[in-house]
């Protein structure tokens, strides 16, 4: 158990530059904040892609991401309202937002197929990171069963996104 946990934590640190591996047990208000932030990040990336992407599969993928993550985040907002939980900002959310802002700026400098490829590769990596975090950290740490269940649904949706992104990326080579 300890070995598995530390492997998971190590994997997370590698993937996210420690953004998602703070060690301390997360509370439900923090988990809700992280999950929501992760969604907003992908929506922002998608909005940039909708205007910048030239490949039609990449453009369609970006539209799908905006639509799905907005739907999931709306569910998340409805749930925290119902549970009377106030999402709480935390170091993980802050680190995620910072990394995402840097990435968005980096992608913003690219054009044409270079942009398309960088965006879709980042989508593959980003969904992998978020899915690993959900599986190994956020879902196991969530106390409220409804929050846990929403995160589990989110995981299945985002695993679908990861496959979709991989498929689009493979089609561009």
């Amino acid at each position: 158990m300890f070995v598995r946990l530390s492997i998971a934590v190590a994997a997370l640190s590698v993937l996210t530059g420690a953004a998602l591996a703070q060690g301390a047990k997360l509370t439900d208000p923090q988990i809700a904040h992280i999950a929501y932030t992760a969604g907003v990040i992908d929506i922002n990336a998608a909005k940039q892609a909708e205007t910048k992407a030239s490949n039609k599969d990449v453009k369609a993928f970006a539209k799908d991401m905006a639509r799905d993550h907005e739907a999931v985040n709306k569910q998340a907002l409805d749930l925290v309202k119902k549970l009377k939980v106030t999402p709480e900002d935390n170091d993980t959310s802050k680190a995620l937002s910072k990394q995402a802002a840097d990435k968005l700026a980096e992608l913003g400098k690219l054009k044409g197929s270079a942009y398309d490829k960088a965006y879709i590769d980042n989508e593959v990596a980003y969904h992998k990171t978020v899915n690993t975090a959900l599986e190994t950290q956020l879902i196991p740490s969530a106390s409220n069963p409804e929050l846990k269940s929403l995160l589990q649904t989110g995981l299945k949706i985002f695993q679908g996104h990861e496959q979709h992104a991989e498929h689009v990326a493979a089609g561009m080579k």
């Binding site: 799908d64 639509r67 799905d68 739907a71 649904t153 299945k156 949706i157 679908g160 496959q163 979709h164």
Partner: protein, 106 residues
């Protein structure tokens, strides 16, 4: 019209309405957590497919050969009547990894 005849007409109408679905089946295909189940369905021309979307996301059932393209809003059910025989591979345009097959007998 006397009340008696009115009722009789209604009863006849109801019988007539019931006679149609007796020949055609309604088959449910569920989309949940980005999975279509059952992944393979056999039906007949005239049958109705009930597309049940249990996700909070919109889905489509889009035939590869262009036979149908149904959009199913989140948490909604859409219906389509099968009019053409054949084996049709279909997928969700928004989530292309959702794939299934529908075999329609004449």
């Amino acid at each position: 019209m006397s009340p008696g005849r009115y009722l009789a007409t209604l009863a006849l109408f109801a019988l007539g309405a019931m006679a149609v679905p007796a020949h055609a089946a309604t088959i449910q295909i569920v989309m949940e957590n980005l999975v279509i189940s059952p992944a393979a369905v056999s039906a007949k021309v005239g049958d109705t497919i009930e597309w049940v979307n249990k996700d909070v996301l919109a889905h489509t059932a889009t035939a590869n050969n262009g036979d149908f393209d149904v959009t199913i809003a989140p948490k909604k059910t859409a219906r389509s009547v099968l009019t053409k025989a054949g084996t049709v591979d279909y997928y969700c345009r928004f989530h292309p990894n959702m794939k299934a097959v529908l075999t329609v007998a004449p």
